[in-house]
Subunit: 127 residues, 2 copies
DNA sequence: GACGGTGTATTATAGTAGTGATACACCCAT
DNA sequence: ATGGGTGTATCACTACTATAATACACCGTC
């Protein structure tokens, strides 16, 4: 529900969780005070180990994005700018876009061709 | 020179080499018969182990993109369609674009904003 | 206060993946 | 044949990942 985890991926599960949460928070999909699903809940849903989820949560707490209050679910930290500016969010996407630019160049593809497909994919995802 | 390797990246070096070569070949940047830099040459240039490079080369040989002739440098295979169609090359880029779409959605970014930055990056890379 | 709900510390284990050092096999030109 | 150029097989080491089984500390509520 919350996460889109791929066990086949080479990027470790805990990191997938971290990155997805970070984006969902910065993007406003999750707001300050919102409660996260419990580690056991997530673990069962994806048949992974609770400690793996805990590891992800802990990293985000160290990062200041999450707040832990013992006995209660993890929540999104309040101190954050409720939603960062579009410019800031765009910065988070930049590394991924640089990768696209690099690959496109190596493939000899024009910006037009790339953009067309990208827009198509983004519209599809919308639905 | 040939490769743009990032040792900090979580994707292993040998795989970075594999992917970059595959794209350069499919994109026509490297043509049939072209010789690759020797494993030791690449290794020294990036201060990595020759075996790491060899591993990448071997994978591409198994894939049919490279040809090994003992004692001589690896070369790009001849059998390949010299340059695949733009549509085929676009397919190679698709996974990366899907990643962008996913992240953009989580960040709450509109296609417009994303495309603008992407084009900017691609133009810059050109120079 | 007992219970069921949070997250976590601890320890141990297993598997996997990436990298590295060395020595080898081969080709070719001298 | 010898030397310098290929790529590579082998082995070992290190780091990381994920899992597991407990046990703990805390909160809220019944």
């Amino acid at each position: 529900m919350y996460f889109d985890l791929q066990s086949e991926s080479s990027t470790p599960i805990y990191r997938q969780i971290v990155e997805q949460l970070r984006r969902q928070i910065n993007g406003g999909l999750l707001g300050p005070g919102d409660a996260l699903p419990s580690v056991r809940q997530v673990a069962e849903q994806h048949t992974i180990n609770p400690m793996t989820v805990s590891r992800a949560y802990s990293l985000l707490e160290a990062e200041g994005l999450l707040v832990r209050r013992r006995g209660k679910p993890m929540t999104v930290a309040a101190g954050l700018a409720t939603e960062s500016s579009a410019r800031q969010r765009l910065c988070l996407l930049q590394p991924c876009l640089e990768q696209v630019a690099r690959e496109a160049r190596q493939l000899g593809l024009s910006p037009d061709e790339v953009v067309t497909l990208l827009v198509e994919l983004m519209d599809k995802e919308e639905a």
